[in-house]
């Protein structure tokens, strides 16, 4: 059973569409049994219609820019007589697939935002094994307290008003689950792990920054005020403060969940795989 986790499209306010290569990947009918739409993706009827073709089972949760209800045009998906149905969008939803209970939320009402402990409390409240959330535009996957946390990022790489992510390497975000599982029945371990990640990040960053700075200082002294905006190239990721477009597929077989992370990097789709097994009782 495949569950598609997709979030923060922000179409049309911040993005035109998802990458066409994503569309191609997802346009295989009857492959995906459930879509978890994790917020900020309901402003575009066109995009919703596309998701309808991916799977008619869509669980939508509300992001900050979703209205409290949406109108669905049942006409296009069913070839019916142009019926428009109004549906409320909840803050959280719980679905069951295989042996897993899966919680979905956008997380814009989770404080502090994207905080692992807060998410853990929510997972406990909802009694779920897998917690899908969104809102950060930044793909993430980790286990904590034997629960699996997945954020599929933004499927369009849309602008994010959060603090910009300075590092665009994804590997820091996805902690190696396999090694994690062995010695991480504890949340404190997890925190140190992710701290390690950010430490590396911080170590790398200042160096390159300094170099650039020096370079620019030199330029400035050599050619006075000659450095113009056009001399500086800014990558899309820097502007959007978001990560590359991404989404996740959860392949659920009994008590095993294989997570596939799809990322759109430099015009190509890259896939990462992570396996999570539901801990057996006792």
């Amino acid at each position: 059973m495949l569950v598609l986790a997709i979030s923060d499209a922000h179409i049309p306010s911040r993005a035109i569409d998802i990458p066409s290569k994503f569309k191609k990947l997802l346009s295989i009918p009857d492959k995906i049994s459930h879509v978890a739409l994790l917020g900020n993706s309901t402003q575009s009827p066109e995009f919703l219609n596309f998701l309808q073709t991916v799977s008619p089972n869509i669980s939508i949760v509300r992001g900050e820019f979703d209205k409290s209800s949406i109108i669905i045009d049942t006409h296009e998906s069913n070839g019916g007589s142009g019926n428009y149905e109004e549906k409320n969008i909840p803050l959280v939803a719980v679905i069951k697939e295989g042996d897993f209970r899966i919680g979905c939320c956008n997380g814009y009402t989770v404080v502090p935002k994207s905080d692992p402990l807060s998410l853990l409390a929510l997972a406990r409240q909802l009694d779920v094994d897998i917690m899908l959330w969104g809102g950060t535009h930044n793909v993430e996957a980790y286990t904590l307290e034997e629960k699996f946390f997945v954020n599929p990022g933004s499927c369009t790489g849309a602008f994010s008003a959060d603090w910009p992510i300075l590092n665009d390497s994804i590997s820091n975000n996805i902690t190696d689950i396999e090694t994690n599982k062995k010695d991480s029945a504890t949340e404190s371990d997890d925190i140190t792990q992710s701290e390690d990640g950010s430490e590396q990040l911080e170590n790398n960053k200042p160096d390159t920054k300094d170099e650039e700075q020096e370079q620019e200082d030199k330029n400035a002294t050599l050619e006075e005020e000659s450095l113009n905006e056009e001399d500086i190239s800014i990558s899309e990721v820097e502007i959007s403060g978001s990560n590359v477009p991404s989404f996740c597929l959860l392949d659920i077989q009994g008590s095993t969940c294989t997570l596939y992370i799809y990322m759109f990097i430099d015009g190509e789709v890259k896939v990462d795989k992570v396996v999570y097994k539901k801990p057996t009782d006792e």
Binding site: S13, S20, H34, Y84, E86, V92, V94, E195, E229
Partner: protein, 894 residues
């Protein structure tokens, strides 16, 4: 001799006579053979035959006559001199058999080298005049033409060719006359039948032109001076629609396309003189297709030469072809004011096709064409245009033109360079306009999403780049009908219809929002070098969208998002170009002001349904400004948000969610500490939380607000739990919030919900417990233990209630109840969500988003009781697990 009654009889008679003829020939009895032949030819005299039947007989007879002809040629030198025979057959009784025999003998004679060819040919064609019945005459002349195919004057000298072509032309003219005359035979009511028959026979006439083109070969001079004028004269003179349409088409098809190019003017002029019923569109279309074939071939050749490194000169493309068509078009438009817009647009579409094929980069031509149609549309007035929608859409979108390989580039050029395109579009009905605009916008969006445009740019191509303000203005002018599109049905109308209209409207507005991103992305960076220039253009788009009135609720968020991107660019420039720091600070402030203007436009125009979005846009701006240390701006956006919250968000559910979002945003701010901004904002938030309408909302809002006094790490700015020492943290206030929250939970009358709230508070307490010791967080073991005790007591009374109910059930249903509560129920069926709604586990096959529609009244009280109990159990389990890692948890008493 007479002919048979039926076709079958005729065929068998022909077969029979053929056999007899062959037998006579074998016995060298030529006279007998001719007699049988004559008998067989009599069948062709039958006036009742349909063209198809006649053709059948003709084929049979043709074959038989071929046998005879072969015999004649063989025996020319031994006994039967063909000159004599030619005389002899003149004595056959009936004219049809006589002429067939004459042609057979005559053409056999032509095969003999020393025969007087010219004389014979002239004589034969002269004699053919003897048959004036259309069908019989046509076939007879067709026979003549078939028989003489290889036997006209030999050689390539001028005279021979001229003679041959004259021979064919004469035959053609006569055939054409017969063919046209057929129309006027018989009764008037059989006219359609006649037309049908004529269409069946047209190939006979057309074949003459095919023959002619073979004779003319590549002799342009001859064609231009001697042949075409005569042909055209015939076509014009006959004034017959079927004839004119068919023959014009055949001329276009059979003669080389270079010829048409050289004789274009006379071809076009002639088309003006045709019967008004003739479809001019069709004629022009055929001609243009031929000419396009020509140019494509030349281009192909030129390309091949280039790739092969051939030095020989590339052929030039004549420059005036469009001009000539254009002049023709003007004449046509003048002389035929009766032409409908539909017909005219058909012709214009063809000429567009020509222009795009011949001069792909010439947009002016198209501009002229669109201008002409616009004039025509204006002349005809509005009502007529409505009928013509679909072809107008075809004309404007050019979707059927195969020559357009990349529509995005085509439309882009039209929009940016072709003013009358917009004029014409603006004359159409709203529905057509939307259709056209949607097609256009989609082509851009598809292009930008599917191809990596950057890659093509590297190859020195830079399509779809906006290089001037004027170009952008034109884009916006084109889009205006979509921008100002109204939801025509005003309030209070039938719900379904309103929703439907709104839905359609939103789809168009979605396109606009997307095209805004497209336009900003496609600004030519070599022209618009600075952020300032980009801002100016974005403001142009904003002002255009402003005309949409209420529609800006769909389009402004896209404008704002683009402003945000510019702000972030500024912040990056600011870091890199140190000398201009203040410049960029001011620029960013300016952009925030523009955004603020956008938001207040939305506030003033969009009504209540957009307040939630406006509120959140304010908060996101506040967050962005905070990240850039633009403290006052950030504060201002926060206070704007409060204003919206206090005055415009009335629904309690919306208020609750909005307030939590405020808390989430504030919790991530870092620059507001100065001037006590942060403190006043968080106090205000908490206060609002404690004043929410419902107790459960109060409770949740306040425990969420406790986080406002407990900053957590933001790793992307280098903060780290345990390392960073200057986090904003006030444990005392945290505890106060939790206590206040607990009071609210306690005063909630619904005891199930009250319990659940307490369990939630317990979880928040555990959050702080993990985060530090009591001296920091003020949330210590004793407080937690007290809370657990309280929860246990409350749960006990809940269970009491449940047991009573269970025993009631047991009274009727004596199932075993071993004392463990809730085992007879599905324990995990319900949980409580973030906002206090009960959530039922979504069924896989049944979209779980439906669970909001699920009603509490459908729930059994026992199911409800399980919610806090199970949540508490899970929390206890968590505490137990934590004992392995953190010794402090061992002090928590369960």
């Amino acid at each position: 001799m007479s002919y048979s009654e039926s076709v079958e009889q005729a065929i068998s008679n022909i077969k029979q006579q053929t056999v007899l003829m062959q037998r006579s020939l074998n016995n060298r009895k030529l006279m007998d053979a001719l007699k049988f032949t004559s008998a067989m030819l009599t069948e062709l005299r039958n006036p009742r035959l349909q063209p198809k039947q006649y053709y059948e007989l003709y084929i049979q007879i043709f074959d038989s006559l071929t046998i005879l002809s072969a015999y004649l040629v063989e025996n020319h030198s031994n006994g039967h001199h063909l000159a004599d025979l030619y005389e002899l057959v003149q004595y056959a009784g009936n004219v049809v058999p006589r002429l067939y025999l004459m042609i057979t003998v005559g053409t056999s004679y032509l095969k003999i080298p020393e025969s007087p060819r010219e004389e014979i040919l002239k004589d034969m064609i002269e004699m053919c005049r003897g048959v004036q019945n259309p069908i019989r005459g046509l076939f007879l002349r067709y026979y003549l033409s078939q028989r003489t195919k290889q036997l006209l004057l030999p050689g390539d000298d001028k005279d021979a060719i001229e003679f041959n072509s004259q021979f064919i032309i004469t035959n053609f003219i006569e055939m054409n006359k017969l063919w046209v005359r057929l129309q006027h035979q018989g009764q008037l009511r059989e006219r359609d039948q006649r037309t049908k028959e004529r269409k069946e026979l047209q190939i006979l006439v057309g074949s003459q032109l095919v023959r002619l083109s073979q004779v003319v070969d590549d002799n342009l001079e001859l064609y231009k001076v001697e042949i075409l004028p005569i042909l055209l004269e015939q076509i014009v003179q006959c004034r017959d629609v079927v004839c004119q349409e068919y023959l014009y088409d055949v001329i276009c098809q059979v003669f080389p396309d270079e010829f048409h190019l050289k004789t274009l003017d006379s071809l076009l002029d002639t088309s003006l003189q045709l019967n008004t019923e003739v479809s001019v569109t069709k004629i022009i279309l055929t001609l243009i297709n031929r000419l396009n074939g020509y140019i494509e071939r030349i281009q192909q050749n030129n390309e091949n030469k280039e790739t092969n490194g051939d030095e020989s000169k590339s052929e030039n493309v004549p420059k005036d072809t469009f001009e000539r068509f254009w002049k023709h078009l003007l004449k046509l438009n003048e002389e035929r004011p009766d032409l409908s817009v539909q017909e005219l647009s058909g012709i214009i579409l063809s000429i567009m096709n020509l222009s795009l094929t011949w001069y792909p980069n010439n947009i002016e031509n198209l501009d002229q064409l669109f201008d002409l149609v616009s004039q025509k549309c204006k002349d005809f007035g509005e009502e007529k245009i409505d009928d013509s929608e679909s072809f107008m859409v075809d004309l404007l979108t050019a979707q059927n033109l195969e020559i357009v390989k990349d529509f995005s580039v085509y439309y882009f050029n039209l929009i940016t360079q072709c003013g009358s395109f917009q004029t014409l579009l603006s004359l159409q009905s709203s529905q057509s306009q939307m259709e056209v605009l949607t097609t256009i916008i989609n082509s851009f969006l598809d292009r930008i999403m599917s191809v990596n445009l950057k890659q093509t740019e590297d190859h020195n191509e830079s399509p779809l780049l906006i290089i001037s303000k004027t170009q952008l203005e034109r884009f916006l002018a084109i889009l205006e009908p979509m921008i100002t599109l109204k939801n025509t049905i005003k309030g209070n109308d039938e719900g379904d219809e309103t929703i439907k209209r709104e839905f359609t409207l939103s789809r168009y507005q979605e396109k606009l929002a997307k095209i805004c991103h497209f336009l900003i992305q496609r600004l030519d960076k070599s022209v618009f070098k600075t952020i300032e220039s980009e801002i100016e253009l974005l403001l142009m788009i904003k002002n255009a969208f402003h005309k949409g009135g209420k529609n800006i609720r769909y389009t402004y968020p896209a404008i704002i998002a683009n402003f945000w991107r510019m702000i972030r660019k500024c912040s990056i420039y600011k870091k890199r170009i140190i000398k201009k720091e203040t410049y960029y600070d001011n620029l960013m402030k300016q952009i925030f002001k523009y955004i603020s203007r956008c938001i207040s436009d939305m506030f003033n125009n969009c009504g209540n349904s957009s307040m939630d979005i406006i509120y959140k846009l304010n908060l996101q701006n506040a967050a962005l400004a905070d990240q850039l240390s633009l403290v006052d701006i950030s504060y201002d956006f926060f206070s704007e948000a409060f204003g919206v919250f206090e005055e415009s968000l009335s629904d309690s559910k919306t208020q609750f969610q909005a307030l939590i979002y405020m808390a989430q945003t504030l919790q991530k701010t870092r620059s507001l500490y100065k001037e006590n901004y942060y403190n006043s904002l968080i106090v205000r938030t908490t206060l609002h939380g404690s004043k929410l309408l419902k107790k459960q909302d109060q409770c949740r809002a306040v425990y969420v607000c406790s986080h406002l006094w407990w900053a957590t790490e933001i790793s992307s700015i280098g903060e780290e739990e345990g390392e960073t020492t200057d986090f904003f943290r006030e444990g005392k206030r945290v505890l106060e919030c939790l206590q206040r929250s607990l009071r609210a939970a306690d005063s909630r009358m619904d005891n199930v919900e009250s319990c659940e709230l307490m369990v939630e508070i317990l979880n928040v307490c555990l959050y702080y417990f993990v985060h530090g010791d009591e001296q920091n967080t003020h949330v210590g073991v004793s407080y937690i233990n007290g809370l657990i005790e309280l929860i246990k007591n409350n749960l006990k009374s809940l269970r009491l209630e449940e047991e009573q109910r269970l025993s009631e059930i047991d009274a009727t249903n004596k199932d075993s109840n071993d004392g463990t509560l809730g085992q007879t129920y599905n324990k995990n069926q319900y949980v409580m969500g973030l906002d206090g709604t009960y959530i039922k586990l979504g069924n896989v096959n049944n979209s779980s988003s439906a669970n909001t529609d699920f009603m509490i009244k459908d729930m059994k009280i026992n199911d409800m009781i399980q919610v806090p109990i199970m949540h508490f159990n899970r929390t206890c389990e968590y505490i137990l697990n934590q004992r392995d890692i953190d010794n402090r948890f061992k002090t928590v008493v369960l």
